[in-house]
């Protein structure tokens, strides 16, 4: 089947995205049409259940083609859609499932208190943000990547500001929006530079275009390239809240309703890190570093600096926080720093084994954060505050939940026997085993710093536990949590414990996922690699002098370099 002729049948691979998009519209319509007269709380609950049903339907649709045995016949050609701008595969499939499960928890948490009266729009925006995340993971091309990134982010700007009667919510949303706009502009500028330098927007093709000339010298003397890389890093740095592009995060996390903060910390970060990994490995790999020295021109040095800054700053700043959500925001900044070490290992080693641990870490981190933010939701629902001291004495009053929070916090610290330990262990040990001697020193420093930071992080995570178990309860104790909060906390603690005792299944799974898509898939047709699907075509008499148009196949701006044929490692 020719790749450039999508047939209706191919859309079955977009089933989750399509279902989520339409379901969002559906939810809005139901809200304004059928449920108009109901109270806000009732609508919140009904629509919440409906949205969960939609997410479940999307989850089911991922596996539908397999179950009905429809998919394979149609998608032997790489499961690529729209001229290869979107690719499916194990990575996308599993991460979509993960995102949907996280989404279900976020929606369930949203029903715990009456945070808005515009429930239809709220849930629709959550669903659409998820569409953006899924497509971001799947995108293989710069423009698609930018559009999906914006789709995700714009939805999140709005939901952040959704608790309208709270000043800080609106403030946080606005800051997030302004900051996001600035970094998006910079990001887009970086992308356009990349396009100008290589003449293509496909990730794999960019990598190939850069490869022959630059592999050996990295970015020596290439100011334009350096600028492009830096600006791309600004865009992603903003999304994953890496220092020094993190400043929106504490304000937005604190201002947003707790479920939205959870979604910012998990879904958005997860999708962005995977996309960052793809861009760095597939497109910018040749610019990583010179052959002679890792600190020689190349972006590895820059990313290493950002990673070191991020984890150190995040942890130190978290130490001083008294607000639970703000503390979690800084902790999520610190975790982004750890994960950047893993991302670096993927790039430097070019070993597929290194990408699996990053995904493992993401899964474990996301689950733990859902649990942590549901505690924040519980606190806010009952007391309307986020102060850690309001947790005093909670562990003794609710022993089961207390134990779960204990497990979660210890897992976030990375204590052995819990999933967080294996996340750090796998990632750091892969980092130490990557590359040759000249890389080792850099990684040794980074991993050493990461371990030191883990120790520091123990201080503020244990503060939560100290409040829960060692402080006498002051004032009115919290009321019993709702079922959804209970489920979220217990579920995430179970993830931490089960994968802590038996990490093998998850790590096998994440390794397989990493294998499938993070790296350039060898069996891709040659034309896909060389051709830009989007070309700048001058128009004779128009006020705006360029427009974007889908380009024809064949004959890119420069002669297409031949991809090296490598046997398909994923052959079934």
């Amino acid at each position: 089947m020719p790749v450039n002729a999508p047939v209706l049948f191919d859309f079955i691979h977009l089933a989750p995205e399509i279902i989520l998009s339409l379901w969002g519209l559906f939810v809005v319509m139901i809200d304004v049409a059928l449920l108009r007269r109901r109270s806000s709380a009732t609508r919140g609950r009904i629509l919440g259940v409906m949205s969960i049903i939609g997410a479940l339907a999307a989850l089911a649709s991922i596996y539908l083609p397999d179950m009905m045995d429809l998919g394979h016949a149609a998608s032997n050609v790489e499961e690529s859609l729209f001229q290869g701008t979107i690719l499916g595969g194990l990575l996308v499939e599993r991460l979509t499932a993960l995102l949907l499960i996280l989404l279900i928890f976020v929606i369930a948490l949203s029903t715990t208190w009456d945070l808005t009266e515009h429930w239809g729009e709220y849930y629709a925006l959550l669903l659409w943000a998820t569409v953006g995340m899924i497509l971001l993971i799947a995108s293989e091309e710069l423009l698609t990547l930018f559009l999906t990134l914006e789709m995700m982010t714009i939805c999140l700007y709005i939901v952040t500001a959704f608790e309208k009667d709270q000043r800080r919510s609106a403030e946080g949303g606005l800051k997030y929006f302004v900051y996001g706009s600035v970094s998006s502009a910079l990001f887009l500028f970086g992308l356009s530079l990349l396009y100008g330098l290589t003449g293509t927007t496909r990730l794999a093709a960019i990598g190939l275009a850069l490869a022959p000339a630059h592999t050996s010298i990295g970015l020596v003397g290439n100011v334009a390239g350096a600028m492009a890389v830096l600006l791309v890093l600004v865009g992603f740095g903003f999304k994953i809240s890496a220092v020094p592009f993190h400043q929106w995060a504490p304000d937005a996390y604190e201002g947003a309703p707790a479920p939205v903060s959870a979604w910012l910390a998990t879904g958005s970060k997860l999708a962005s890190i995977v996309a960052l990994m793809k861009v760095l490995v597939q497109a910018l790999g040749p610019w990583a570093h010179g052959v002679n020295d890792i600190s020689s021109p190349g972006w590895v040095g820059i990313v290493a600096v950002i990673s070191a800054l991020t984890m150190t700053y995040g942890n130190f700043a978290a130490l001083a926080q008294k607000n639970l959500k703000r503390m979690l925001a800084y902790s999520s900044i610190a975790h982004a720093g750890y994960m950047l070490v893993g991302v670096l290992a993927v790039v430097v080693g070019a070993g597929k084994s290194a990408a699996g641990p990053v995904l493992f870490y993401l899964v474990v981190y996301s689950a733990a954060n859902i649990g942590a933010f549901s505690i924040a939701a519980w606190l806010y629902r009952d007391k309307g505050t986020d102060q850690i001291e309001d947790l005093n004495g909670l562990g003794l009053k609710y022993p089961i939940l207390g134990m779960c929070v204990l497990l979660l916090m210890l897992s976030l610290i990375g204590l052995p026997g819990l999933a967080g330990f294996w996340g750090k262990f796998f990632m750091f040990s892969e980092a130490l085993s990557q590359g040759d001697d000249r890389h080792k020193l850099t990684f040794l420093w980074l991993v050493g710093l990461g371990l030191m930071n883990s120790v520091i992080s123990a201080f503020y995570y244990v503060r939560v536990l100290r409040a829960m178990f060692l402080r006498p309860s002051t004032g009115r104790p919290l009321q019993a949590p709702t079922l959804t909060i209970r489920l979220a906390v217990i579920g995430s603690a179970a993830v931490a414990l089960i994968f802590g005792l038996y990490p093998q299944p998850l790590s096998t799974e994440t390794d397989a996922m990493a294998e499938s898509r993070i790296f350039i898939t060898p069996s891709r047709p040659a034309e896909l690699l060389s051709v830009s699907p989007v070309r700048v075509v001058p128009r004779p008499n128009a006020s705006d002098d360029t427009r974007l148009r889908a380009g024809p196949i064949g004959g890119g701006p420069s002669a297409p370099p031949e991809p090296t044929p490598v046997p398909d490692s994923r052959a079934k």
């Binding site: 600035v182 910079l186 400043q247 130490l319």
Partner: protein, 668 residues
Amino acid sequence: MTEFFVHNAWIVPVLPLLGGLIAAVGGRRLKAYSYLPVAVGIGLAFLVSLVLLTGSGGHTQPTAIEWIDVAGLNVPFQFRVDGLTTMMLAMVTFVATLVTVFASGYMAGDPGYPRFFAIVGLFVASMTGLVLSSHFILTYVFWEGVGVCSYLLIGFWHSKPSAAAAAKKAFLVNRIGDFGFAIALFWLWSVCIGHDLSYDNVFSKANLAGLQHHDIVGISFLLFWAATAKSAQFPLYVWLPDAMEGPTPVSALIHAATMVTAGVYLIARSTPLIVLAPEVQASVAAVGCFTALLAALIALTQNDLKRVMAYSTVSQLGFMFMGLGAGVGNLAAFAVIGAMFHLFTHAFFKALLFLASGSVMHSMGGVIDMRRFGGLRKRMPITCITFALGSLALMGIPPFAGFWSKDEILSSLHLASFKSEALGGIYPTLYLVIYWTAIATAALTAFYTGRAFFMTFFGPERLPKPDDPEADPADAGHGHGDGPDPHFGHEVAPVMWVPLAILAFCAVVVGALFGLTGWFAHHLEHSPGLAEPEDFHHAFDWFTATVSTTGALLALGLSYLFYAQRGPIPARIAGQIRPLYLASLHKFYVDEIYNWIVVLPTKVLAGAAEFFDIVVVENLVRLAGWLPRVFGKSLLAPFQNGLIQYYAAVTALSVAGLLFVFLWLSVN
């Protein structure tokens, strides 16, 4: 069905674990029935073990479950079913079943009743896991597991200071051994093919051929070090006599029959490795011999019945190590099988002796000092008979169980003194000395066992006085008022004497049944390193059997003369060699010496460390806590000032800054 169980051997540890969990969770509801799930779990595990014992042909390896798999370290949950394993499994679960039944009566009324059985369930799960595992690291995991259970059970009555201290001592001494085990594992990991620590790989011919001699010696020595702690050998045996502070069923199960044999099992399992290091073998035999002699000498003068048994256990474990160490050249399989056979028979008769002691103690209201009771044979006939049968087995009188296994160890030592001539040096002399010492120790064994038996059951009848400070009449079963003292001295309930009778039967027959027929050796053949070589032929060693039996009988007769009538002779002898007598009574002052050499310096060091901690470390930590706060307030807070235009400016500046860094890197 056999096939199913062989491939799902994990069922064996899981059943007692489940029982323990039920007892732990449902203890409040089950109350006096808390023993039931554990006893059922262990009993079922015994049945499965029996199926494995009779049904497994040779060595099978059930499917492994992946557990940890990272670069260079792969630890699967992998079990193996071979001769050595099935033998240990059957023995452990059998003894454990009987002990659990006994304990259900013995522990009745204790406030910690459910807790006791929960830990026993956990212990049996760990112990069966230990002998099933097919990977050094997995073995280590279960090794620690049994250690923890032992700690918990010794300190079961943790409100009693002596029990708490004994538990701590056992734990610390065992840590010393675990340290050796851990180092051995690290060493093995770094030298083995593919860093694979599964038994199959470590003991494969290719791997053993690739090891340097110093690696083999070092690793074997460290494994032996680990074994000395768990199996109570000199110099790390000191914890075992103190461990008698735990409930008596625990002493029977853990500190006599099963857990203390873990070290012997580990060395037997590592036979293919250790056989390549004759130096280590000789030291194993020498240490075992020294321990056996030392413990037997101490046992001569102890007045606490359970302590006599404890030292006797240490001494018998010493015999097993002598057997393990005698495997010179092609003697290895014969010697190790002999040691394992002694382990096997010892489990039955020592568990019996402990349970019988426990039944005496139970009946005497918690008094265990042999000077305070005597002549109990009429009041407790069943206990007396079973104790007698167990004692005969321990003494090594034919045809009781102990004779057959002890004889195998002695004759392998005898053979070793000839075989080691090929090695030259001092080996032949060494083994000959060990051989004669062992025979002398066997006679000593007969003497102190006879002494304990006669002091308890013979002579004029004496019972503890009701106002005895240690005696608690409420503990002593239910009085019927038929005697001078209604509180003490009844035969125990059937739930307690039936296990005694079963064990006594085993103590009589297992030796001849398994040893004489050769079943035992044949069964163990399928384990690595335990197949007897073609060129090895062994005839029954009449010389050794005659000498050791004569010695034992003489010693037994002597003890009858001395103690059955409570004559004045022992006191006179003790008076004549008073220094020696006192040394033995005070356990040769080993504890005191350790206290001066190890414990006190450690305490001084700990005090210094505490001082350092309080003065230096704590202030450093305070500084570390103070710095970020100041740092955050004065330096970072201005950056996080909540002004969005400021944030945008910082971003732009950061890009510029990073670009500058970048260009600077390019120039250099």
